[in-house]
Symmetry: C2
Subunit: 248 residues, 2 copies
């Protein structure tokens, strides 16, 4: 619980007293009130002045960018434990919207930066988060690079499974719509639908509900995802344990 209390003084830099929990980044958010967002609701918009950092307490969100021709590109999905807005530079780089009902905690950006600057352990964690976000962005680029629809979706399922709280179940939750998946993988909803159907027909997966799939043949799925970036995660299982969960 909140054993230690941070007394926040004047907004001037270096004004507050000791009393720093700061065991980790999450503790900064722990005392902030929870805000709720309904599916479809926006947390902030691309180009907005970045006033706050958010921590996802529950639910799933999508981060997206709109192109001038109206197309929508989803650059990531965010889940409990992820931070929103760490990669900002004055303005948010993307719009964030709730996919499922979401609970967030908000922290003022300036205070966040002050706290981080003050505590080297927080810095370490923030760097680590940024690096994770970086690799996630790069992994998406790899995923989008000239791969078949089948390979993309196989990859996507494996990715979503990794995000499940580290459990080994073969059920993959998909709170997002087919359109979200399509805009994330750079294809159309029709192709997403057809490919999922095909995987189901081949017995690789089953589709008990619309918003979830069950992996029946994990090894087949892995081989379909072939040329996967998963080999980058294998050598460092310890790196992941340091964080609550994977980033966007």
């Amino acid at each position: 619980m909140s054993a230690q209390v941070v007394t926040m003084q004047d907004a001037r830099t270096g004004a507050w007293s000791q009393a720093l929990p700061a065991a980790d980044l999450s503790s900064l958010f722990a005392r902030q009130p929870v805000e709720k967002f309904a599916p479809g609701q926006s947390v902030f918009w691309e180009g907005d002045e970045a006033m706050h950092i958010f921590e996802v307490a529950d639910g799933m969100l999508r981060a997206l960018r709109l192109l001038s021709d109206g197309r929508r590109i989803i650059v990531g999905f965010l889940q409990a434990g992820d931070l929103l807005g760490v990669s900002l530079k004055e303005r948010y780089l993307y719009t964030v919207e709730a996919v499922s009902p979401v609970e967030l905690r908000r922290f003022p950006r300036r205070r966040f930066e002050d706290e981080v600057a003050r505590h080297s352990n927080l810095q370490q964690q923030l760097f680590s988060r940024l690096r994770d976000e970086m690799t996630a962005a790069q992994d998406q680029a790899v995923l989008l690079s000239r791969r078949s629809a089948e390979a993309k979706l196989a990859n996507f399922f494996l990715m979503m499974r990794r995000n499940e709280n580290c459990k080994r179940t073969s059920v993959v939750d998909l709170p997002m719509t087919r359109l979200d998946i399509a805009d994330y993988l750079g294809m159309t909803i029709e192709t997403v639908s057809r490919t999922i159907t095909k995987l189901a027909n081949n017995g690789v997966i089953a589709i008990p509900e619309r918003r979830s799939v069950t992996v029946l043949k994990m090894e087949t799925l892995r081989s379909l995802a072939d040329g996967d970036d998963s080999e980058h995660w294998l050598p460092s299982p310890m790196a992941r344990a340091q964080h609550a969960s994977a980033s966007a």
Copy 2:
């Protein structure tokens, strides 16, 4: 080696002694010997233990990842002023090879981290670099997302032009091969070649040499790149300038 803390005043006047002053990131590298790499030569490999951080003094490099099916994905091109290895986590995330003749300066990673931890201004700069790398990775994802070959190449030329030191010239240098471009844009060399030819036939560009193009109709090129992420790049030239000088 223990770094000595130097007052900012001294550092900014440029009148520092032998002790590493660390006014900005580049100054860490300034006293390191220059290492040369011939085209095609590797600086380090994906998965290597990350022992050093590098600063590019001259030339162009490509950062790439190899997929298990043998395909090659170029995740970025690096030029003078860029850092190599900042986004590492114990091991390098990608292989880096020289495209043109390259000059680098090397700095031990441990000492680099010590220095950064010691100086908050260096931290700021490092965060800024990471964020830039982040947005670049995300921009690549946007670029790869379901865009026509024409749009991808138009974007690529604009991107490469931005990197040129003086951006008013319409000549775009392309030190890399067509295969490099193809592996960066997620298409085949044939399509790259055909599309470039098409742009030349339409009078949008001219191809005086194999490794450079001249933009004849800038506005047409921009509109072809339409739905572009260019609006996100606009602040970028300033970000580069910020790195050069640590002034806020």
